[in-house]
């Protein structure tokens, strides 16, 4: 297996709280990797640290062949590593469609120089991504809301919009923070299929935090278990399901 992401001894503290406390694991290219652990285990903090919106106190994060733990967020995103938020951060004062269009990478129309010097290229790019944006909205079943303000969406719909938005970036690694929370159960099954299809068709790798363990067990090739800021186990869904340490962690038993 080739590694796409490697997290080495990452520590991130808030005041006295060691939210992530020396976590290490790797994510294989083209895999769907689950990241599970009880509330407060440090999963969201780890996501923020990998995506660059928080800087680690120590440790290394390697994406592809480059070290990214000191890079600013936007450069990590442009390199193809993007995240969604546990509480989706869609731009509520823009339309759903604009939210998706916004995520397009390398848009000549997003630079003043590009607008002035290459207006044709900017318009052509905008036309191309408009089509793509509608496809992605159809994928998450938000097509009929395209022109509504994103602020009018429900919590679950916002998560779907967030997903469509990161896919717009054509990433190679997507971190999803609890993508199923608040999403209509009827849609979950379909979403799972879509994620697997995106991985198959576009070679996108997923690292997914999810409390719905059935979902994780169905989707993931490999599962990373965190507790109290540390990675306590990495294995296949089958191995994780029967491991006592996992049960202990969820039940809050001391070792």
């Amino acid at each position: 297996m080739t590694e796409l992401l490697r997290v080495e001894d990452v520590v991130r503290t808030f005041g006295g709280v060691r939210a992530v406390d020396g976590a290490s694991f790797a994510v294989a290219d083209h895999s769907v990797t689950g990241l599970i652990g009880p509330n407060g285990a440090g999963k969201s903090t780890l996501f923020a640290t990998i995506a660059g919106s928080l800087k680690p106190d120590s440790g290394r994060i390697v994406f592809g062949s480059a070290r990214i733990d000191r890079r600013p967020v936007h450069r990590i995103a442009r390199a193809g590593l993007v995240r969604t938020y546990q509480a989706a951060r869609v731009l509520t004062r823009m339309t759903v469609l604009d939210n998706v269009l916004l995520a397009s990478a390398a848009h000549p129309g997003e630079r003043l120089a590009g607008l002035v010097l290459r207006p044709g290229a900017a318009r052509a790019h905008e036309r191309r991504i408009l089509e793509r944006a509608h496809d992605l909205l159809a994928l998450v079943r938000l097509e009929s809301h395209a022109h509504a303000y994103a602020g009018t969406l429900s919590g679950g719909q916002r998560k779907l919009l967030d997903l469509a938005r990161v896919l717009m970036l054509e990433p190679s690694l997507v971190l999803l923070d609890e993508p199923m929370a608040g999403v209509n159960p009827a849609l979950r099954e379909e979403l799972l299929e879509r994620i697997l299809a995106i991985r198959r068709d576009r070679g996108v790798t997923f690292l997914i935090v999810e409390h719905d363990l059935d979902f994780v067990m169905q989707a993931a090739d490999s599962v990373v278990v965190m507790n109290e800021g540390k990675v306590i186990l990495v294995g296949t869904p089958g191995e994780v399901r029967v491991d006592e340490r996992v049960v202990d962690a969820y039940l809050g038993k001391a070792h």
Binding site: V73, R89, V90, L91, M94, A103, R111, A122
Partner: protein, 321 residues
Amino acid sequence: MSILASGGFWAFVGVVAGIYTILALGLQVQFGFAGLLNFGQVGFMAIGAYTMAILVVKEGWSTWLAAPLGIAAAAVGGLLLGLPSLRLRADYFAIVTIAFSEIIRYVATNDTALTGGSQGTIALGPIGTASQYNGQWSSFEARVQHALGFSSSDATMLVLVWGVAVVLLALCWLALRTPWGRVLRAIREDEDATASLGKNVFAYKLQALALGAALAGIAGLFYAWEFSFFSPDDFQPLLTFFAWMILLLGGLGRVWAVPVGAGVFGFIFAGTRFLDFAPFTWFASDQRAYLRLIIIGLIIIVLVLVRPQGLLGNKREMVLE
């Protein structure tokens, strides 16, 4: 009442409203587009006006070279202010921008050799001479007046200022509708989320700050040309607050709300001079100047309290947080 009826007076009010439109448009780009709380806008206006006047008087430059340089200097001022301060929290940024404009004013007041000091531009040249920076502008204005067949220079200035203002408004309106403007609108709402979509938030903010500063520089040029003389006292923080009031009056994030706000502001500012009925007649004329500012202060407060998106603003797109 005679002045009130005179076209010249209202043309003057219109010119001032046009200058304020350009000044407040700069704030609209910075705050209405990108969410930057700039309270030092008047500082950029001063940079534009002084750069032009100094280059014309001291260096003998042509007005048509000095004016663009004034605008560029204001934009560079925006870059220099933004580089260290745009990373600060919004409240610190607001304080730093006011401090910036006050530094500009202190320097203009005290660096007599450069700016003429508190005596203003009249002292720009060698001692004993009353210097003028607007010779070329005046003859240009006269030619335009002749070409238009106007009888008054006030009306000519009105056309010139508003001609430029309308072009700038249109450009900003267009810019907001481009993908570039879309990124700014996203930053104004949630800069962290925008950064995680791969946008270099800092660079965009810097651009917005510098562009807004350039607009203030243009306002400074027209201010200088309209009054043929200025001094550091013309660039009190009060002007920035007027521009904010115009923004709030018009509407946040809406380009065409700016001239509406400026028009209402001009009307309040000029119109209150003519409140010659009770209770206003109880006050002397200098006291009425205080009353006028009290009214403006109250308007700001009331707008913040009851209409935080501005009169023409769209509540779903932007409100004052």
